[in-house]
Amino acid sequence: MGGKVTCTLGEVKNRADLIVYWGGNPAECHPRHFTKYTLTQKGKFVPNGRKDRTMILVDIRETPSAKAADLFLQVRPSKDFEVLTTLRAIIKGQRIHAETVAETGLTLEQLQDFAERLKKARFGVLFFGMGLSMTRGKHMNSAALLALAAELNAFTKFVAMPMRGHGNVTGGDVVMRWTTGYPFGVNLSRGYPRFNPGEFSTVDLLLRGDNDAALILGADPGATMPQPAIDHLARIPTIVLDPKVTHTSRLARVHITTAATGISAPGTVYRMDEIPLPLRPALKSPYPTDEDVVRRIYQAVAKKPAWLPAGKGRRNTEAN
């Protein structure tokens, strides 16, 4: 399983007549998603806006987003994968037993109705949040949902899109993809990129104590990571770039204050549908930008002897 059938939010606005949110709470976490992109906007092929669209919310509890939904399906916690695979089986016309469905918290009739609605949509979209991708099953849940979206294209046009948080986390994936070939967790210690989530992902590295220095920028792991990972950041020389003195700054050896992205630092950020947008800062910061500081650290390191044997240290991702 793999691959993502997707589109831009502009296409959702102009075409989508069935909108499913799965394991996400846009009403509180992405407040303008409904009004700017998905539900209430009038689009070229959905001229009556909200009246032309159906919204289904799938979650383990009734969040404030349920008020906006036409149909709310409450799944038993950590049974999303079972619901997704049952939907895929129904859509393929395979036999389903009501008793195996019962453990998901939904009935077979509910799932059959859901599958019918998915198949009958003119243009359907599955938005999925961290309630799906960060709970039991993790990336296998995302893979099952992406497979469902792909398979629905046998009946109608269907796409899937993750509800990304944190400003430019999408841009991080995109930049790492075009510079190293992989979206995150890239190990460059052999002079070429290697990708292996679970081995080269940050929490795993820190829990094993693999790193002996860390540069943290645009994040505050000291406030968000598991305590043993934070403990390791405090043990090793940690360097933090941030507009504020953060939790991580307090356990770091070096903190450098930088301009706030989008407020006093210019540049480009990616929206969750991988559309790059320019920033228009309203203030002038007394501090340098993250971009400047990282470049200066690069230049300071570049003055030292290369760590790879001479002639073998050609840098593929070099930005300067």
Partner: protein, 115 residues
């Protein structure tokens, strides 16, 4: 003081990256955020152009930017497997520099995506 108005400003708080915000600023802080949601308004008003923090800290003590950059370069250069992590609330231009630095120091680069 007269307010400067920035039209079609881009909010980087969440993944929606709304780019239709109108910001009114008095040079030091943003005082009005038209069309921003409550999260966006809090985000814009939470950062000012004031000099609230030292340029840099080394071992918790105020330091110059130049010294901090040298110290950072020494730590990263001397490490066997340095980690470059975060990249969420920085620009693509800064992310690109960070990838180049990670390659130069032979480290691992990772973002919030892996959490």
């Amino acid at each position: 003081m007269e307010l400067t108005i920035t039209k079609n400003a881009t909010c980087t708080f969440c993944g929606c990256v709304c780019d239709d915000i109108e910001l009114h600023a008095d040079g030091e802080r943003i005082v009005e955020t038209k069309r921003a949601c409550i999260l966006g308004e809090a985000w814009f008003k939470n950062h000012t152009a004031e000099r609230l923090y030292p340029d840099a800290l080394i071992d918790g003590k105020p330091a110059t930017l130049d010294d901090a950059i040298e110290a950072a370069a020494d730590y990263l250069y001397n490490a066997h497997l340095p980690l470059v992590y975060g990249l969420s609330n920085v620009t693509c231009e800064a992310q690109r520099e960070a990838v180049a630095l990670a390659e130069l120091i032979g480290g691992v680069i990772d973002s919030h995506t892996s959490l």
